[in-house]
């Protein structure tokens, strides 16, 4: 693999770009691997990458039903932030955000991380108190956030109407080091680095069963035959329950569609990320100029990857009051992803009832921001059997009643 650099671009410009090589290899599956990761999304690829980089385990296959990064990694609104209320959440999300800062250099792949700042609007008295509490919690956790008033908000985001009659903007939780990144590039960058280390990324390979012997995993049945492994990691987001069923256990997870949409490209008008949780709308402007808008989840289980129309209508209707200038925008695309939601809205990074099998799921509606941190922590869990970042996110927290309650923290499904 050739390194990307300004010199590489200059060299290729001289020879009509004929010298670029494939970004990752497309190998035939081996008979067995030390570690198999199911799911080549951001989290799965990041797990494989840190297994190789931090623990020297490179005999790894990442198995993917479709194409890599084609699930929720390619379907989210690319918001990166770490202003959570609970200590375990702040620890893993802040680890993730800090890894994003150097990710382009580390992977030698431009993930276009843009720390443009993210504000979460308080539009009710309930949210005012909630976000002030979060700002105090973040101070104690060492996560830099501040609570700001309407004047500062208007300064940071002039297109916002802060004195709307129905949803006035009373304040906001501002994290200046939050931002966004190019979602596909994150998956592609990790895939390229994994492939470079000799790992196999097996696309269009569907896992149809998990084989076990004496309580330990022995391999997976796939559409390309049986593949043996010593350790298995399940990192499949919305389909976590389906894969867990193959291994013979139930998860405290329900899968629902979450929708997003983008507008036609317009001139730069907004250089921060704005989240409005009361009205379930998030908005930022992409580098191409499109307004990227995220909505709320559907109320019932589904695997349809499209979602209900009325949720979109509610999101857009509410955003138009806060951002009157978007009322004439045409929307270009709309899509849905299947998110795996737990009861306490916190992820599961855990050992499972099946020996040598680990699961990373339950990131719900906020998985993209967690990709590097989740991969870092889950790789440690898989390699060493424990990790300080995952200690509070075990499956056993549900029987112990030791929740990491972020649903009450946000007051909404987020």
């Amino acid at each position: 693999m050739k390194r990307f650099s300004v010199f590489a671009i200059a060299r290729e410009a001289m020879r009509q770009h004929s010298g670029w090589s494939r970004t990752w290899a497309n190998p035939q599956p081996k008979k067995s691997y030390e570690v198999i990761i199911i799911g080549a999304g951001g989290h799965g690829l990041a797990t494989a990458y840190y297994l190789g980089k931090n623990f020297g385990i490179t005999n790894v296959a990442v198995i993917e039903k479709g194409w890599l990064g084609g699930g929720n990694t390619g379907r989210n609104t690319t918001i990166i932030r770490s202003n959570y209320l609970q200590d375990p959440s702040a620890a893993i999300y802040e680890k993730s955000r800090s890894l994003y800062e150097n990710l382009s250099q580390e992977l030698n792949y431009n993930v276009m991380f843009s720390p443009r700042g993210c504000m979460m609007l308080a539009q009710t008295q309930h949210e005012m108190r909630g976000y002030q509490r979060t700002a105090h919690a973040n101070s104690l956790q060492g996560v830099k956030t501040e609570f700001i008033g309407p004047e500062r908000i208007k300064q940071l985001c002039p297109i916002m109407n802060v004195d709307g009659p129905r949803y006035p903007v009373l304040g906001a939780l501002w994290q200046s080091r939050a931002g966004s990144a190019r979602h596909d590039a994150v998956a592609w960058g990790y895939a390229r680095a994994c492939s470079e280390m000799g790992m196999h990324i097996l696309q269009k390979t569907e896992v149809i069963g998990v084989t076990q012997e004496a309580g330990n995993v022995t391999g997976v049945e796939t559409s390309r035959g049986h593949i043996e492994c010593k350790k298995l990691g399940m990192v499949v987001a919305g389909h976590a329950s389906v894969v867990a069923e193959m291994a013979g256990f139930h998860l405290p997870i329900e899968s629902v569609p979450l929708q997003a949409l983008v507008s036609e490209p317009i001139k730069p008008c907004m250089d921060v990320v704005v989240m409005a949780n009361t009205v379930h709308g998030y908005m930022s402007q992409s580098d191409k100029g499109e307004m990227v808008i995220g909505g709320g989840t559907d109320g019932y289980n589904a695997y349809t990857q499209r979602g209900s129309f009325h949720h979109l209508e509610e999101t857009v209707r509410a955003l138009i009051e806060t951002f009157p200038m978007i009322s004439r925008l045409k929307m270009l695309r709309h899509w849905g992803g299947i998110v795996d939601v737990t009861g306490d809205r916190s992820p599961i990074l855990s050992k499972t009832p099946l020996g040598q099998t680990f699961i990373n799921c339950g990131w719900g509606t906020g998985g993209f921001k967690a990709i590097p941190g989740s991969g870092w922590a889950f790789a440690e869990l898989m390699a060493k059997g424990e990790s300080p970042l995952t200690a509070e996110f075990g499956l056993d927290r549900f029987s112990a009643g030791r929740f990491v309650d972020e649903s009450v923290a946000a007051g909404v499904a987020h």
């Binding site: 389906v242 139930h250 998860l251 405290p252 009325h310």
Partner: protein
């Protein structure tokens, strides 16, 4: 858009007129049960990709809770039935067998 027929008032309702209530036929465990049973009752969910049995409420109509058999992948509705039952009526099971031969869902098939 999902539409369900309320088995009590007979109205064909749009999803915006209904409230989803999650998985149906969950067996309750209370004091005296094992931790594992209690955890499964509180948090364990089938969450299938395909046939699912759910609770819905006719919230802008008659206000009653009812059950629905639905596919989570295609949104096809196999039928709705009254909530005062521990398992789906045979007529609904037969209908599902025609459309999804060999189906099973938790203890039902």
């Amino acid at each position: 858009m999902l539409m369900l027929n309320c088995p009590y008032c007979g109205m064909n309702k749009d999803e915006t007129e209904l409230s989803a209530g999650g998985e149906a036929h969950i067996k309750r465990f209370g004091p005296g049960s094992s931790d594992q049973d209690f955890e499964e009752y509180l948090f364990g969910r089938a969450n299938p990709k395909g046939l699912h049995f759910e609770r819905w409420r006719c919230s802008s109509g008659c206000g009653k809770w009812f059950h629905a058999a639905r596919c989570t992948l295609t949104l096809e509705v196999f039928g709705t039935y009254e909530a005062q039952t521990l398992e789906p009526p045979q007529s609904i099971k037969d209908l599902i067998t025609v459309k999804r031969p060999g189906w099973s869902w938790r203890a039902f098939s």
